[in-house]
């Protein structure tokens, strides 16, 4: 399957961007109040599930075809931990947060987590974001 590495990786990155953008849009509309219903409409939710399923599938494919040495410094483990945090914050930002303030805080925190994960993934380094900031 390594023959398809470039395609799978592109799929993964594309869906990462799509997933993040959709989250951003949903979070913003929700904050905007009036349009908030749109963010949780069934088609939008299902679109989001579908994108994330494709994203994760591609991720698992990459995981199985790359040599394990690539993950030696722990960047992937860090990213996965952050993924859980991101998902948790995300549900609070869109659904579970009781007040508008909580939802907003979670939304901002989730976006920050997303950005951190993005940086870690690009640099293949758990301290990637720091390095990017210092560079």
């Amino acid at each position: 399957m390594i023959e398809f590495y470039p395609q799978i990786k592109m799929l993964h990155v594309t869906t990462v961007v799509a997933s993040g953008s959709l989250f951003l849009l949903r979070g913003l509309t929700l904050q905007a109040g009036e349009w908030g219903r749109w963010a949780m409409a069934a088609p939008v939710r299902y679109l989001s599930y579908s994108i994330d399923t494709v994203l994760l599938t591609a991720a698992f494919m990459l995981l199985t075809i790359l040599p394990t040495a690539v993950y030696a410094n722990g960047w992937l483990a860090t990213k996965l931990v952050l993924l859980v945090v991101y998902v948790g914050l995300g549900t609070f930002a869109l659904k579970r947060g009781r007040t508008k303030r909580v939802r907003l805080a979670c939304f901002v925190a989730a976006l920050a987590t997303y950005a951190t994960m993005f940086a870690i993934a690009r640099t293949h380094d758990p301290l990637g974001p720091v390095r990017l900031l210092l560079a």
Partner: protein, 760 residues
């Protein structure tokens, strides 16, 4: 004469004629089957194989899982090659290579000029297709060149089924364990059997220009191409299908709207059902259904994984303890077993409910049958494990080990046990129903019809007892499809229609007279194509051309009722909303709607895709077959099993509140997961294989060379998301059932306004 009576007579006549013709065809298959030679000798008299070799070879083949590991004449598993096509190709290439070396002083056949290749290939065709079987002496005579080529191929098989290190990669590609057959003498006889299957595939019938297998498999080196009859009957079968659709459309147009009951019940009539002790005892049938279903999925995942890593599971040498052949055997067998268990439970649950009569010792019988089923599953599976691990020996394999016939792999002892178990089931259902069967009221006909379809399901398993240990391969295939085909495309369809219509009459939503006529009519339509349609599995199983003609024509008619299944689905769905309290049955009804959907897609479309002789000539044993198998078997009968189970659980726990999100997850995950697996993996691989088979011959589409391409590997991986979603659905179902017993939700009112699930 009233309408129903006319239909009963019509059905009886139809069944008598169809089964008469089917039995006659069986006789023809028996008479025209490829002969088993007493000896295979070379021109100078050296004995190459004897009948005993070939027969023992078949036993060895059965003991390692038979059709579960690779296939013969296109029937069987999909990861290892089709041994018939593989042998044929290897023997042809070995001969041609030898001739190229001798006559042209080149390394091999491939190095020759095209016209030289054409010349040699033509020479090969003339020799290899020639029928040298002498019926009087029972000998097949072969020339020295052929004997040499056969020895070479036999050597390859000896190394492949042993532990030769050089062929390790090939074994991995085929998902075969090392030392699949540890005994060298057994490997030699296995080769004799494979050779015989290839001999039948390439030898022309006396006085004809087609081989015993109607020229199957496609192989240009030996001149195997689709016979004229395949083209002819393909076209005719499409014609019959269109004609059938037109005819049934006309009938529907003419018969118009059905009568509805004058007054719909105010509240759920079944909520008042008294749950008797024997009915309550069926709960454990449904627990077992869940357990078997989950195990089946796990084994399916392992079987699929073997396609990627032939011997290991993430570094663990799994094939040493649970080889592919076993995971596939159990996966396919559990499919039938859990679905059957769901139906058995349903029958036992509804019989006393219908008649309002709890016979003496009924509960004891229900419990006893349940224990028997467990013993059968555990015992039969243990025997199969011992067989495939080659610990059982050949002597007891047929009775207690692995018969190797896909879907009827149980050892004969366990087959008998199951048959008796089915008899016990019919007795239990019959005696509980008895008062209702005798009562001369208006609901009697539909009860009778439902009961007859269950009797047929039980009895027809008996066809699986018709062959013996050494019965001719063609005849075993004939009887095997009596069980598998007549079940799924005959009596199961009837049972599905009857049981759903019946449940609606019990709910007071359908008039019994209307339902009876509709079910009788549907039965006639299903049986008209279904009985002789059996022969569509036997086009290339060493059978005469009549089989191809009859099979293609009648099986096309099977698709006719499926083309109108949308009516059925809409009808079901509408009845699901007929009264407010029907919301209690929202999920069983949705599963019944899914049954209709997959009947159209899985059975109708994907079934017809592979059904006419010309397509099947190339497609059988390619991934298009499991495409149809999965979407039809799970899609139709799996969904029906789940729907029926939910229906019974509704009655068994009338007051329980059903968790909407859990059931929604279950329903949609099962459907989307099934579609994902079918569309992301099985369909694309199948199409790629089809192109390969048409272009390069059937052997190539099944070869390691083809199946190990990166693209195929990728497509196999693509089923992971679908499979995961599907598993989530199964786990949601398990969770739902468990919660009915463990810490159930608080009860909700039952009456006219039973709104507990009407949140939609």
């Amino acid at each position: 004469m009233n309408n129903a009576k006319r239909l009963w007579i019509g059905l009886t006549v139809l069944l008598a004629v169809s089964f008469g013709v089917l039995l006659w065809t069986g006789g023809e298959i028996h008479r025209k089957a490829p002969p088993m030679p007493e000896t295979v000798v070379t021109e100078d008299g050296t004995v190459v194989f004897t009948r005993a070799d070939i027969e023992q070879g078949r036993q060895v083949w059965q003991s390692i899982g038979g059709q579960q590991l690779g296939s013969i004449w296109g029937h069987g598993g999909y990861v290892a090659p089709d041994w018939t096509a593989d042998w044929l190709h290897r023997e042809a290439v070995a001969t041609l290579d030898a001739w190229a070396r001798e006559g042209y002083a080149v390394d091999d056949f491939a190095s020759l000029l095209p016209e030289e290749q054409a010349y040699l290939s033509r020479r090969l065709q003339d020799r290899i297709r020639l029928n040298t079987y002498d019926a009087d002496t029972g000998t097949i005579t072969i020339d020295a060149d052929r004997a040499a080529a056969m020895a070479e191929v036999a050597g390859h098989y000896d190394r492949l089924f042993g532990a030769d290190a050089e062929l390790g990669d090939l074994r991995e590609a085929y998902a075969m364990k090392n030392d699949t057959v540890p005994d060298a003498a057994h490997r030699a006889s296995l080769a004799a059997f494979y050779w015989w299957s290839a001999w039948a595939a390439v030898t022309e019938r006396p006085g004809k220009e087609i081989t015993y297998t109607n020229n199957w498999p496609a192989e240009s080196l030996v001149g195997n191409e689709p016979p004229a009859s395949a083209y002819l009957w393909t076209v005719f079968s499409v014609l019959f299908l269109i004609a059938g659709i037109a005819l049934l459309g006309w009938h529907h147009a003419r018969s118009g709207e059905e009568e509805r009951p004058d007054k719909l019940p105010e509240s759920d009539p079944l909520a008042m059902t008294v749950v008797t002790p024997s009915m309550r005892a069926t709960a454990k049938y449904f627990w077992i259904v869940i357990a078997l279903f989950l195990v089946q999925i796990l084994l399916g995942a392992m079987t699929a994984h073997y396609q990627v890593e032939g011997q290991e599971l993430y570094g663990f040498a799994i094939s040493d303890i649970l080889p592919y052949s076993l995971t596939r055997t159990w996966h396919t067998q559990l499919a039938v077993l859990w679905i059957a268990t769901a139906w058995l439970g349903t029958g036992l649950y509804i019989a006393p409910a219908i008649s309002g009569h709890e016979p003496k010792f009924q509960r004891l019988g229900v419990n006893l049958l349940w224990v028997c089923l467990l013993v059968i599953v555990v015992g039969a599976f243990a025997g199969q494990w011992l067989a495939v691990m080659q610990k059982l020996g050949l002597e007891h394999n047929f009775w207690f080990g692995h018969q190797g016939w896909e879907y009827v792999d149980l050892g004969r002892f366990w087959q008998w046990f199951l048959f008796i178990g089915l008899g016990l089931w019919l007795t239990l259902v019959g005696r509980a129903l008895w008062p209702a069967l005798r009562r001369r009221n208006e609901s009697r006909p539909i009860v009778v019809l439902l009961f007859l379809s269950t009797v047929a399901i039980g009895l027809f398993y008996g066809a699986g007892l018709m062959w013996g240990e050494h019965t001719h391969l063609s005849m075993v295939e004939y009887w095997r499809w009596w069980v598998v085909h007549l079940w799924v495309e005959g009596f199961f369809e009837v049972f599905a229609t009857a049981v759903i219509a019946f449940l609606f009459t019990r709910l007071g939503l359908l008039k019994v007279s209307t339902a009876t006529v509709a079910v009788l009519f549907a039965t006639i339509v299903f049986m008209a194509g279904g009985v002789l349609g059996t022969l569509h599995h036997l086009y290339f199983a060493g059978t005469p051309t009549a089989v191809l003609a009859l099979g293609a024509s009648f099986s096309a008619l099977e698709v006719v009722p499926l083309a109108y299944i949308g009516f059925e689905a809409w009808h079901t769905y509408k009845l699901g909303h007929a009264t407010p309290w029907m919301a209690r049955y929202r999920w069983p009804i949705l599963f019944f709607t899914a049954v209709a959907f997959w009947n159209l897609v899985g059975a109708g479309l994907f079934g017809f895709l592979i059904n006419p002789p010309l397509p099947l000539y190339f497609m059988q044993g390619l991934n298009l077959t499991p495409l149809h198998g999965h979407t039809a078997l799970f899609g139709v009968y799996g969904m029906l099993g789940v729907g029926l189970m939910l229906f019974c659980l509704r009655g068994m726990k009338p007051a329980a509140e059903w968790s909407e999100p859990v059931l929604r997850t279950c329903f949609w995950s099962l459907n989307i997961g099934l579609a994902g697996m079918a569309l992301m993996t099985l369909l694309p691989i199948g199409v790629l294989q089809l192109i390969a088979a048409i272009k390069h011959g059937y052997w190539y589409a099944r070869s390691a060379e083809f199946m190990q391409q990166p693209l195929i590997d990728l497509l196999v991986w693509m089923r992971v998301p679908g499979d995961v979603i599907f598993s989530v659905g199964a786990m949601a179902l398990a969770w739902f059932v468990a919660r009915l017993w463990i810490a159930p939700r608080k009860p909700a009112p039952v009456g006219a306004a039973g709104q507990e699930t009407a949140r939609s």
